[in-house]
């Protein structure tokens, strides 16, 4: 993956598509995967990815080089995915109760077996489906994309302690519900 230099950003902001493609190749994995985990739907994730990069291309002229392009794109991605999700009300409709969704994942055994059977995606989606939108975004940015607390706080424009408390509540919820499921399937 090529490094995104200031020259590339400058050229892209002047409409150079080749330079913009370099930015796309460096950032699209993040954008698509965050959108996919938030939307839980590939078509929606593709639509959000397109929207994020078209917005980025349009607004690149006003981008100040002293700030981080990565953080800026993170913020556009999260805002876009959240707005898209709210608009389509996909998220609320797709959230099942943990008992249902986790049962699907846990029927054949524990999480480790699921991973071995290449059902990782299903397990992850089931875990995420029990979280509210704010908690889900934090868990995706931290556990899947590996952002630091500081980066998450910047992307979401929130305090670092809010990131901490959202992650804590999300994980407590997952743990408590998983214990119920473990109990039922023992």
């Amino acid at each position: 993956m090529r490094e995104i230099t200031n020259d590339i950003i400058l050229l892209a902001s002047q409409g150079d598509l080749q330079s913009f493609e370099i930015i796309y190749k460096a950032m699209s994995g993040f954008v698509y995967n965050v959108a996919l985990r938030i939307m839980n739907n590939r078509e929606d994730a593709e639509e959000v990815t397109q929207e994020v990069f078209l917005t980025t291309y349009r607004k690149l002229q006003g981008f100040r080089l002293e700030s981080s392009l990565k953080t800026w794109v993170y913020r556009i991605t999260v805002n876009c995915a959240i707005n898209f999700g709210r608009k389509k009300t996909v998220i609320n409709n797709k959230i099942k109760t943990y008992d249902e969704s986790a049962a699907e994942a846990m029927v054949e055994g524990d999480v480790q077996k699921e991973i071995e059977k290449e059902h990782t995606n299903k397990v992850v989606n089931n875990i995420l489906s029990v979280l509210n939108l704010e908690q889900r975004v934090c868990v995706v940015l931290r556990n899947i994309e590996g952002l630091s607390y500081e980066e998450i706080a910047e992307a979401l424009n929130i305090n670092i302690n809010t990131v901490r408390s959202r992650l804590k509540r999300a994980r407590e919820k997952i743990l408590s519900l998983r214990k119920q499921v473990d109990y039922e399937y023992l």
């Binding site: 699209s28 593709e46 291309y57 899947i144």
Partner: protein, 157 residues
């Protein structure tokens, strides 16, 4: 002094996410060695919260996404160029290369206008002068006493 509650909170956040400094990590590790309850909790947290995300869960972006983005950008650029060219065409009508003939035409029109106006004014002045001259003649001639009659007129009179 670390209580089990604090340790659990840290396990669910900074400890799990490697956001703690070395000394705090050592304190937590030391507590876990001595507290079986927290050790079990840490194992549960690892199994249920960390392990599921350790597999390959990131997906590749489909190829066609970039094609769509590129197409949208090119279409927008083309639409922008078309609207700009319309404005430019409009401006070019009055632009420099056509300024000379436009100015020439304007001067010709101005001269023609001036000529027509002058002719009209001259005609008006002439008519006015003629009228005044006849009127002055009329006033100066004494038809009663003047001897302007011709022999023929004399004969008939």
């Amino acid at each position: 002094m670390n209580t089990c509650k604090n340790i659990k909170d840290l396990i669910l956040t900074d400890y799990m996410d490697s956001e703690v400094d070395l000394s705090t990590r050592e304190q937590i590790s030391s507590h876990l060695l001595n507290c079986s309850h927290c050790r079990r909790f840490a194992a549960e947290a690892e199994k249920n919260l960390a392990v599921p995300f350790k597999g390959k869960i990131r997906e590749d972006v489909p190829e066609h996404v970039w094609s769509s983005i590129r197409q949208s950008i090119e279409n927008a650029a083309m639409a922008n160029t078309q609207s700009k060219s319309f404005i430019n065409n409009f401006i070019q009508i009055f632009s420099f290369p056509k300024l000379a003939p436009a100015l020439g035409g304007f001067v010709v029109l101005l001269l023609m206008g001036t000529f027509i106006l002058n002719s009209h004014q001259i005609k008006q002045v002439k008519e006015k002068e003629q009228g005044e001259y006849l009127a002055s003649l009329w006033k100066t001639v004494d038809f009663e006493n003047s001897d302007l009659r011709t022999p023929i007129e004399e004969y008939f009179l």
